[in-house]
C-alpha cells in the first residue's frame, strides 16, 4: 500500500544540515554549520567515519555567527544521554581519552597538587586510539 494512502495524520519533517565537528568532549561538541542552529533545538548528529555512521542525540546550547567563513555559524552542543554509548561513538572515545590523560596531567603538570603551579592544559597532538579518530586536547571553544 502506497504511503500517501495510509491516512497518517502526523509525520516529522527532518532537515539535514551539513556540519563540521570542530572538537569534542565526553559531554558535547562544537559544530560549524552553513546555516544557523537555534539554541535549545534537539536533533541527532550523524558522523561518518571509516565507512561507518555514528549517531549521537544532541541539544544545541549556544550559537554564534562568524561571518566570512564557508561555515559561518558555530554551535556548542551537548550530548543527550539516552543510553550507554557504543564503544565506537565519539562520546565514548572522548571519555576514554580523557580518562587516559587525567593521570598524566595530574602528575606531569602539577594540576590539583601542592607540589607545583598549574601549567597549560594543552598537550601535544597524539592519537591514543590509533585509528586517527580523535586526537589531542583542544584549548579554546564553546562546547560544554
Amino acid at each position: 500500500m502506497a504511503w500517501w494512502t495510509w491516512g497518517a495524520l502526523t509525520g516529522a519533517l527532518v532537515k539535514g544540515i551539513p556540519a563540521k565537528v570542530v572538537n569534542v568532549s565526553r559531554h558535547g561538541c562544537l559544530l560549524e554549520t552553513s546555516s544557523p542552529l537555534p539554541a535549545g533545538v534537539v536533533g541527532s548528529l550523524e558522523i561518518e567515519r571509516g565507512g561507518q555512521k555514528h549517531i549521537e542525540p544532541i541539544r544545541v546550547c549556544r550559537t554564534a555567527e562568524r561571518p566570512g567563513g564557508a561555515l559561518p555559524f558555530s554551535a556548542g552542543s551537548e550530548f543527550l544521554i539516552l543510553d550507554a554509548a557504543p564503544a565506537s561513538s565519539i562520546r565514548s572515545q572522548a571519555a576514554r581519552l580523557e580518562r587516559k590523560q587525567a593521570p598524566s596531567r595530574l602528575a606531569g603538570d602539577g594540576e590539583n597538587s601542592v607540589s607545583g603551579p598549574t601549567t597549560s592544559k594543552a598537550s601535544p597532538r597524539q592519537d591514543l586510539d590509533g585509528d586517527g579518530a580523535i586526537s589531542r586536547d583542544f584549548g579554546d571553544s564553546h562546547a560544554p
Binding site: A12, I47, K121, D127, G132
Partner: protein
C-alpha cells in the same frame, strides 16, 4: 573560559563528515503521490529539502524526500501561528521515493 569547562576537548585528526538532523512535528492535511500539504509550527522557504518521516500502519517508518513549494502563515483557533507548507515529493512518487528507516 577554561575554568567553566567540564571536560577536555579533542579534535579529529581526519576531517569527519557530519550532518545535524532536526525534526519538526507536522500535521498532514492532504497527500497524494506527488504533493502534500502539512501544518507546521516552523516555516520553510521554497526549495528547502527535507525527509518526511511517516509511520506505516504496520509500524514501519518510511522516509519520503520532499521539497518545499511554498509556505504561508495560518492562524488556527486557540493556537499560535502555524504555517501551511506545500511540499513536492522528490522523485515524483516513484516506488523508490520512500525508503524504510529505523
Amino acid at each position: 573560559m577554561p575554568d567553566r569547562r567540564r571536560g577536555q576537548r579533542f579534535t579529529f585528526t581526519c576531517p569527519a563528515q557530519a550532518h545535524v538532523h532536526m525534526a519538526t512535528d507536522v500535521f498532514i492535511e492532504r497527500s497524494d503521490a506527488d504533493t502534500l500539504t502539512v501544518l507546521s509550527a516552523a516555516t520553510s522557504v521554497a526549495g528547502e529539502e527535507f525527509a518526511l518521516r511517516l509511520r506505516a500502519p504496520d509500524g514501519r517508518t518510511v522516509s519520503v524526500p520532499v521539497r518545499t513549494i511554498r509556505s504561508r502563515p495560518v492562524f488556527l483557533p486557540e493556537q499560535t501561528v502555524s504555517y501551511r507548507i506545500d511540499l513536492r515529493v522528490i522523485a515524483s512518487g516513484q516506488a523508490g521515493a520512500a525508503t524504510e528507516g529505523v
